[in-house]
């Protein structure tokens, strides 16, 4: 797997093969912005690990050539981040982006451009929000027969507040597009949590759906777990872990990290 680690001072580790090309630069016009560009030339897996403890601004651009399939894993740890990710998919390319966040604060703007016919993205975002998090996601179906499947899942705790703003766009003429949005926030406080699911579709031959949920874990799920002798706290921990790992295919190392993260918050 290709591995790129971003730290406080920029690129920390780059262990890559010939399937991708990476450019990294820092622009310093007014405020320092880290720019990372990854070109994916062949099928491959990439891990982007952000180990950041200070404020940082990052622009990331990930470009998939025609017919290329990429599994992208993104881990965001600590720090106050402002991130803009751009995913650009050409003809028949497929991206599975799995993103996990345990950060102090974040403002993120992700743009997905499905530029080539039959391009498809499976975008899965999981976060533990304990302060202030805002995620904007724009999915442009710029070509016919393109597919986007978006899953945004958040656990909101402590002083956390979180907003998901998710917009899918299909211009007229881009027929046979499939759009799916599933946004879910499980909250443990009374702070503001908001989901804004938008589907801006100017074409009839499109299948689009969305679901949005803000609330607590289902009482029936808790009852089921407790009915096997598991106490309330352990049942909650099981549900949190299940919620955070469902649909993810991170490796064992990540799963061990996740256990530590859960321990950090829930003992």
């Amino acid at each position: 797997m290709n591995k790129i680690v971003i730290g406080n001072n920029g690129l920390k580790e780059k262990n890559i093969d010939n399937n991708i090309k990476v450019n990294y630069s820092v622009s310093n016009d007014f405020i320092a912005v880290n720019n990372l560009e990854i070109s994916c030339l062949n099928d491959t897996d990439i891990l982007l690990d952000y180990i950041i403890t200070s404020d940082i601004k990052i622009n990331v651009s990930i470009n998939l050539s025609d017919n290329v399939k990429v599994n992208l894993f993104e881990k965001y740890n600590d720090g106050i981040l402002k991130i803009r990710n751009s995913y650009n998919l050409n003809y028949k390319s497929e991206l599975k982006a799995q993103k996990f966040y345990d950060v102090e604060q974040i403002k993120q703007f992700d743009v997905i451009n499905l530029n080539g016919e039959k391009a498809s993205i499976n975008y899965i975002l999981k976060t533990i929000s304990s302060n202030c998090e805002k995620y904007n996601l724009l999915i442009n179906h710029n070509a016919k027969n393109t597919t986007s499947n978006i899953i945004n899942n958040a656990i909101n705790i402590n002083d956390g507040q979180i907003i998901f703003d998710v917009t899918g766009v299909v211009p007229k003429g881009n027929v046979e597009c499939l759009l799916n949005q599933n946004n879910r926030i499980v909250t443990f406080n009374q702070n503001k949590c908001q989901i804004n699911p938008n589907l801006l579709i100017d074409e009839n031959d499109v299948a689009a759906n969305h679901s949005a949920f803000v609330g607590k874990f289902n009482d029936e799920e808790l009852f089921y777990l407790q009915s096997r002798g598991i106490n309330y706290n352990d049942a909650i921990k099981l549900l949190i872990k299940g919620f955070l790992i469902s649909n993810l295919t991170f490796d064992d190392e990540f799963m061990a990290d996740l256990d530590l993260i859960i321990k950090k918050y829930w003992g």
């Binding site: 777990l225 009915s227 598991i230 299940g242």
Partner: protein, 243 residues
């Protein structure tokens, strides 16, 4: 020897009385079956015994081995050895069956929990129940058919070895072959551990495998008639309106 005793239980949900002056005592080694028309409170009874706080107990007591358990939480009741086999077992995505069972067994055994023994026992039970071995690493009941869900309940029962079983319509959603496996496995469990069993069902077909000592007919929130297996034949011939 364990005893589950329910006295004068009256329960409501959403201002509607579901159980009304309900009495029943079940001892280890006894199999009781409750039959009755839809909406008469059978599933409510099972959930109230387990401590589901959606139901409001207006009056009455539930004793386990002479200890009043009305105020115990769901997990505390489960750790006493009471097991509810659900009518509609839930799907919980992300929480694997293995993690779930490990947490449950750990809760029961505490420091005596041994991971190796757990895995060995789980593998053996999965095989005995003719279940797909991969299911253990999938989310709880994720993508399971009705029959697989019921077998998963039986798997949990074997893993936790409860002393008191409440089986709420475990026959629903089962095909003929699955019904046979589930029925036989419950009886195997009974023969090995001699638990107290409270079976809730609409149909005689489950009773081809699980032979009750006592049959109760429930209507309007309480038992209106009790008897032996012959009562089942009368219900089959005449329906519940006969009573």
């Amino acid at each position: 020897m364990h005893t589950l005793k329910i006295e004068n239980l009256t329960v409501e949900v959403e201002n509607r009385k579901i159980l009304d002056n309900f009495f029943l005592t079940i001892n280890s080694g006894e199999i009781h079956v409750i039959m009755g028309p839809n909406g008469t409170g059978k599933s409510t009874l099972s959930k109230v015994i387990m401590g589901d706080n959606h139901y409001k107990v207006l009056a009455g007591q539930i004793f386990f081995d002479d200890k009043l358990i009305n105020d115990l939480t769901v997990d505390e009741r489960a750790r006493l050895g009471i097991f509810l086999g659900m009518q509609m077992p839930l799907e919980i995505d992300g929480v694997t069956n293995a993690d779930f069972l490990r947490a449950a067994l750990h809760a029961k055994e505490g420091d005596n929990f041994k991971l190796y023994n757990f895995i060995k026992k789980m593998d053996k039970t999965v095989e005995n129940l003719k279940m797909d071995k991969n299911m253990i690493h999938r989310g709880i009941n994720k993508g399971f058919s009705g029959g697989e869900r019921k077998k998963n309940e039986i798997l949990q029962m074997y893993m936790l070895e409860p002393n008191t079983l409440i089986l709420d319509e475990i026959d629903s959603g089962l095909d003929v072959d699955s019904l046979k496996i589930v029925g036989e496995k419950v009886m195997d469990y009974y023969n090995e551990f001699k638990p107290a069993i409270l079976l809730i069902t609409h149909y005689q077909r489950l009773l081809d495998y699980i032979k009750p000592n006592y049959v109760h007919i429930m209507k309007n929130g309480h038992i209106i008639k009790s008897g032996d297996f012959n009562l089942v034949q009368i219900i089959e011939q005449n329906g519940y309106d006969f009573f």
